[in-house]
């Protein structure tokens, strides 16, 4: 389905995750972050977001364990940056699909 986020029309699924990561930009990320209750995105948030996009582009499976080991962010920091769903919310803001794994 179509949704207008930050003035841009993008394709999203029923949960609001972008279905085409190339339609993403910084304003869209900022708007989703506000919608998800994360607030203003800092450099620390963007480091995670950019890392997620790189991993997704490579086709890597995203897990909370791999994030903690990435060197980009510790597990604690990730939970602090994206309270209420570290991997789910950061993925949504990054414009990539919701992670499907249980770990």
């Amino acid at each position: 389905m179509k949704k207008t986020i930050a003035g841009t029309e993008v394709d999203v699924n029923e949960e609001g995750y972008l279905t085409d990561m190339s339609q993403w930009n910084g304003q869209i990320a900022a708007a989703i972050a506000v919608e998800e209750g994360i607030g203003t995105l800092t450099d620390a948030h963007m480091k995670v977001v950019n890392h997620l996009r790189d991993q997704q582009a490579k086709g890597a499976a995203l897990t909370i364990r791999s994030m903690g080991k990435s060197g980009v962010v510790t597990t604690k920091e990730l939970y602090d940056l994206f309270p209420g769903g570290p991997l789910k919310k950061s993925s949504k803001i990054a414009g990539i699909p919701k992670p499907v794994g249980c770990i």
């Binding site: 909370i64 791999s66 510790t74 939970y79 789910k88 794994g101």
Partner: protein, 173 residues
Amino acid sequence: MSDDNLPVKKMSIIVSRGSLDGIYPALIMANGARMEGIEASLFFTFFGLNALAKNTMDHLKVATVGNPALNMAMPMLGMPMTLPFPTVMGALPGVSAFATHLMNKEMEKLDIPPVREFLELISDSGGKIYACKLAMDMFKLKKEDLWERLDGVLTVGDFYQESAGAGTHILFT
């Protein structure tokens, strides 16, 4: 939102078994709760303390004796799942170690961490790890015998207090 669809706010998970296959479901459920923004506490009691004792936590084994569902592991050996695993074979020396090795290898492929690292992950995520006082007394375990990052030693009463609040679910594994 009406009361009957109140979201899960907290999972209090009691872990009473000490085999690898007895411990992992609880760790996965606790970690999964935190990933969904749900609070999580793990309360290790009876043989579950095997996963918190410094000397044993890195050496948990798959139960191969009295486990008639081991046929499920046959695909890990390239054999069909329908092939029965005679339960008497489970008692042979090395079989449990071998099954454990296979299981650990498969879990690593799925990015499921070893027990110690998994506990660290849950603790880093804000989950709480508790040991049961009575079981510690029974198994002659002292606090210093257990994992350093333990959040506390609780009585049953403490556990229920810890689990208080609407939206808390208690799960026994």
